[in-house]
């Protein structure tokens, strides 16, 4: 017994056993405290984290709103579904990815290029890959249908539709519609708070850009749970359905647009047709245009080619280019003189072909001189001496500048397209600020005949005419007529006419006399030889601007019609052909003539031209018609 005791642990050792036990249990307690903090205190954080790690979302793209012209029948811009084909290699039963890809290839109507490249997309460990791999993109519905109908024959194959923007029109309408593209980094930084993501498609220019908020809709989301290999676990798919974008109805009439586009023809230039009583743009054309469908195509080449074109096809010349108004400015001079009464309209100024100012001699375009002219005759003959004298001796630059301001020159009109330029309505202060030299009487003389510093956009000239037609009221020019919900057909928004300028306090006689004088230009003046349509009476003013190139002139024609109709039935047409075109003298006015004839005779461009030819109108001989080739 005593022997056994001596072998046993001593008293000190027994104390150590206690210490041992307490130490281990203390460490256990530390672990339990840590577990309490993980599971009880912060449990929900880790629960969220465990959900996040296994949650994936895929975007269900929304359909971008369609864009219609005012007749609301055929969309100008719409979407076509383009399908992408995917393979989930982990879901192939007893088949290799090559087998399945070959089966797909056999069903397609066209030979698949680069089949080796497609094979190479399959990783070597494909047995365990559950994330979809994109095989082929850009398929249309007819390619997908046979695969969808025999789903069992194509294990592991899935597809996704991606709406692509498609424009039913190419050419001049592209400037109005604009185009869409993938959001870039700078745009995302600005628009992030409005719900755009890195994959957003948004309008890059034109209506597409201005009304992107209406058009884009909201993408839907599909949530699903995946395991660590990315395999979809089907049991819990939740869907937030996409909200499709609103359709837009434009003020543009697609028939008039086509007529205008063809009337401008293959000549650098632009035209605006607007309804003065509302500000609605009926047509807005600019040549050359571009095909916006090219932007949705693969590769950057198309965009680059177009942006390097020296003719600047992206430029919407009707609002993004400012030109010297040339003789069309004389309408403003006439209006100013009538309103101010500075020089009586019936008094005479004599043109002898030249005019002396200080030691410099200015020439009129008629070397022999126009003789003695009243205001009406001066405008009809577009006499530079008459208006030079009027500007220098009777109105002065301050008055001219003032009327420029009243009639909307020198500032953007506020049309619902981006990139509108303001042009220049010069004043002595302006010249001092920009050139740091004082204003001279020569500048006033130049300004009086629409040369020199003054520049305007075709839309500004259209607005100017609209104010004269409307007795001083200008409604904001706009392209958007309605916003429509595509599902219910409800009208979400109607654009009401918006009065943005009002000078109706000026005597009504001033407006009616200006209109009369413009009519006289057609009946007895410079435009008389070219206005040959027998459908409608119009009033207007021609302009040919010097651009410093011999025998080349900017050609303008600003007009309204029908002359005697109430303002609600009248339209304003402004045409502008750039000087860089060869042998297109008078074309601005001829184009306007065709436009009026077409609109009011309810004829297409071809019908109108044929009508002119049948009447042996002099300028119609040289117009080619496709069907006669």
């Amino acid at each position: 017994m005593a022997f056994g005791r001596s072998e046993n642990l001593g008293k000190e050792s027994k104390q150590r056993i206690w210490a041992f036990g307490i130490f281990v249990i203390a460490v256990f307690l530390i672990l339990i405290i840590k577990l309490f903090s993980l599971q009880v205190v912060n449990g929900f954080i880790y629960l969220n984290r465990s959900r996040e790690v296994s949650r994936r979302t895929t975007i269900i793209p929304s359909q971008r709103g369609k864009i219609y012209d005012r007749s609301k029948d055929v969309p100008l811009a719409t979407n076509v579904d383009s399908f992408s084909l995917f393979i989930i290699p982990g879901e192939l039963e007893n088949l290799t990815p090559r087998d399945v890809i070959d089966r797909v290839r056999e069903t397609l109507s066209y030979p698949v290029q680069n089949i080796e490249e497609i094979y190479d997309k399959i990783p070597l460990n494909w047995h365990n890959v559950y994330t979809p791999i994109e095989l082929i993109t850009g398929l249309d519905l007819t390619d997908i249908t046979p695969i969808a109908e025999n789903k069992d024959h194509f294990p592991g194959i899935t597809w996704e539709s991606r709406p692509n923007r498609y424009y039913n029109t190419e050419g001049s309408m592209s400037h109005v519609l604009g185009y869409v593209g993938k959001i870039n980094y700078e745009e995302l930084q600005i628009l992030y708070n409005k719900g755009y993501t890195t994959n957003s498609i948004l309008g890059k220019s034109g209506i597409e850009k201005t009304y992107d908020d209406y058009l884009r809709g909201e993408d839907g989301l599909k949530f699903h749970t995946v395991d660590v290999q990315g395999r979809n676990l089907a049991q819990d798919s939740a869907i937030t359905p996409p909200k499709n974008g609103y359709d837009l109805v434009l003020t543009v009439d697609r028939n008039i647009q086509e007529l205008v586009e063809k009337a401008i023809g293959p000549r650098l230039g632009s035209a605006v047709v607007l309804k003065p009583s509302t500000g609605e743009i009926l047509a807005m054309a600019s040549y050359p245009g571009f095909d916006p469908n090219l932007f949705t195509m693969e590769g950057e080449g198309n965009f680059n080619n177009l942006s390097l074109d020296p003719k600047f096809p992206f430029l919407n010349r009707s609002i993004q280019s400012a030109y010297a108004p040339a003789s069309t400015f004389k309408v403003l001079m006439t209006f100013a003189d009538l309103a101010e009464g500075a020089f009586p309209e019936d008094s005479l100024i004599t043109c002898r072909g030249t005019m002396t100012l200080g030691d410099r001699i200015f020439k009129c375009h008629k070397i022999t001189g126009h003789g003695s002219l009243t205001l009406k005759e001066g405008l009809a003959e577009s006499c530079n001496v008459y208006f030079g004298t009027l500007g220098v001796d009777y109105l002065g630059i301050d008055t001219i500048h003032h009327y420029g301001e009243l009639l909307g020159l020198g500032e953007p009109s506020g049309i619902d397209l981006e990139g509108e330029v303001s042009g220049v309505n010069p004043s002595p202060a302006w010249k001092e600020a920009v050139y740091n030299t004082p204003w001279t009487l020569g500048d006033t003389l130049n300004n009086s005949i629409g040369q020199g510093f003054v520049t305007v956009t075709p839309l500004q000239m259209a607005n100017l005419v609209a104010m004269i037609v409307n007795d001083g009221k200008l409604y904001k020019p706009h392209l958007l007529k309605q916003v429509v919900d595509p599902e219910t057909g409800d009208i979400i928004m109607n654009t009401d006419r918006e009065l943005i300028r009002d000078i109706s306090y000026i005597d009504q006689d001033v407006f009616s006399k200006t209109r009369e004088d413009m009519r006289y230009v057609i009946t007895n003046g410079t435009a008389q030889p070219a206005i040959m349509n027998n459908t409608v009476d119009i009033a207007g003013k021609t302009g040919t601007g010097e651009v410093g190139i011999d025998e080349n002139w900017h050609a303008w024609f600003i007009s309204f019609g029908p002359y005697d109709a109430p303002p609600e039935d009248q339209i304003v047409v402004v045409t502008q052909i750039e000087a860089y075109n060869e042998n297109w003298d008078w074309w601005a006015i001829k184009a306007a003539d065709i436009i009026y004839g077409g609109i009011f005779g309810n004829r297409t461009y071809e019908e109108e031209v044929r009508d002119l030819k049948s009447r042996y109108v002099w300028y119609s001989w040289s117009i080619p018609l496709d069907e006669e080739d």
Partner: protein, 448 residues
């Protein structure tokens, strides 16, 4: 003490008695094994709800055989083992050598010995062999238990198999030998100054390794502590300073005979030795091994690589919440975000599916093993039995603390199993053999 007497004494002991069993211990380990099998089954269920693993069947097989083994061993008089403890020890040292030379590689370590799919990990069983031989050695030297000679001898006995396992390389299993050594020496009554020194070196080496590796792999800016290992400009003054400090302290001790000088020299010697070990470790261990070891300090530096296991494991544990996601309903585990769910990270799937309540129950069960184990140490009739039990309790405690600590992100990932729960025949059998020996010691507590 003559061996003859021991044998005589053994033969005189009371007959085996059912009532002598520690039923609490037996029930506890069986419950843990059942829990283990349930969650090994759970770990075999894929995200699609299919069972793709038969690991749970194998574990049942090993569990049943393990329990039988436990009872068989408990019948034997543990004192008989003492006769052959040296040979068992030598046999396992030899086996470890063979394993190192001819073993097959699993998970990067040459730790398996066997033919075809049948195999064992000698390193697991060598822990028991070492515990038994160490207990025998300490009993034989109980008179000089405070002598440095005995301390050094013990270190050698543990150090040989530990070193053979380290070169496999299996750092986790190597580390288990430290708590075995410390638990046995501590219980045997070794001088606290030696034990303290050992403890100091373990702790300091750990700290040094963490800081150095933190600087190398995890931190953006190099802090001073890292530079004492890499920058000669810092290294030489640091070592020289410590050398002078120890020399002066030794001088002070001789002249003034004040205790304080001893402890100064004691501490700084510990620093010096740990420094040497750390430097050596960084020469031997490969970068990715060190990275894996220290990444728990900041798993976000490599969330998809070295940090993945920790992040997914902590997420699994935390997302279990108070009552868990339910059996077979864990997402981290079934969607396979959690790695090695049946072995190293069995605790994570358990904690995810059974929540905080489950983990508390698990800790109660483990605490019962520790308490009953220490009770057996306390009541053992002789030093041999007491010291075997102490070594086993030390081993089991370390497995629990390290494995769970790793799963909840407060310990480095070393990859040692959670005894009784983790899938694996070698570790389960080792655990049951250990309990069997303890039961035998418990049986004999009232003899004579």
């Amino acid at each position: 003490m003559p061996l003859k007497d021991l044998l005589k004494k053994g033969s005189k002991s009371r007959r085996f008695s059912i009532m002598g069993y520690d039923f609490v211990l037996i029930l506890t380990v069986i419950m843990l094994t059942v829990i283990g099998i349930l969650f090994i089954y759970s770990s075999g269920i894929t995200s699609l709800g299919k069972n793709v693993s038969n690991e749970y069947i194998k574990q049942i097989l090993w569990g049943v055989t393990g329990i039988i083994l436990m009872f068989v061993i408990s019948f034997f008089d543990y004192r008989r083992i003492k006769l052959v403890s040296l040979y068992i020890y030598l046999a396992f040292v030899f086996l470890l050598l063979v394993t190192f030379l001819f073993g097959s590689v699993v998970n990067g370590a040459r730790s398996w010995l066997g033919i075809g799919s049948l195999g064992i990990q000698p390193s697991e069983f060598s822990k028991i062999a070492t515990i038994i031989f160490l207990a025998s050695y300490l009993e034989d030297n109980s008179k000089d238990i405070e002598a440095f000679r005995v301390f050094a001898g013990s270190c050698l006995i543990v150090g040989i198999p530990a070193a053979l396992i380290l070169i496999q390389p299996d750092l986790g299993t190597t580390l288990v030998f430290f708590p075995i050594l410390i638990a046995a020496l501590f219980t045997a009554g070794a001088d606290m100054r030696y034990l303290g020194f050992l403890f100091l070196i373990v702790i300091l080496t750990g700290i040094f390794t963490m800081f150095y590796a933190w600087d190398l792999y995890l931190s953006d800016n190099f802090i001073v502590l890292g530079r004492i290992f890499s920058d000669r400009q810092v290294m030489i003054p640091f070592l020289a300073g410590i050398g002078i400090l120890i020399f002066l302290a030794g001088l002070g001790l001789i002249i003034y005979r004040k205790q304080i000088f001893f402890w100064i020299a004691y501490f700084w010697s510990g620093v010096l030795v740990s420094y040497g070990i750390t430097l050596g470790a960084f020469k031997v261990l490969k970068g990715y091994q060190l990275m894996r070891l220290v990444v728990f300090l900041n798993p976000q530096v490599d969330p998809r690589g070295a940090g993945w296991n920790i992040i997914q494991s902590v997420t699994a544990v935390g997302s279990g919440g108070i009552s868990g996601k339910g059996f077979l309903a864990g997402t981290q585990s079934h969607y396979r975000f959690l790695p090695q769910q049946s072995t190293d990270f069995i605790f994570s799937i358990f904690a995810e599916e059974s929540g905080f309540l489950g983990t508390v129950v698990l800790f109660i069960l483990f605490s019962l093993i520790i308490i009953r184990g220490l009770y057996i140490v306390y009541t053992a009739k002789d030093r041999f039995g007491a010291l075997i039990s102490a070594g086993i309790v030390g081993m089991i405690s370390f497995h629990i603390i390290e494995n769970i600590g790793m799963a909840i992100g407060i310990m480095p990932i070393t990859g040692i199993p959670l005894l009784f729960l983790s899938y694996g025949g070698s570790s389960l059998w080792t655990a049951f053999i250990s309990i069997g020996i303890m039961l035998s010691i418990h049986q004999k507590r009232y003899r004579d």
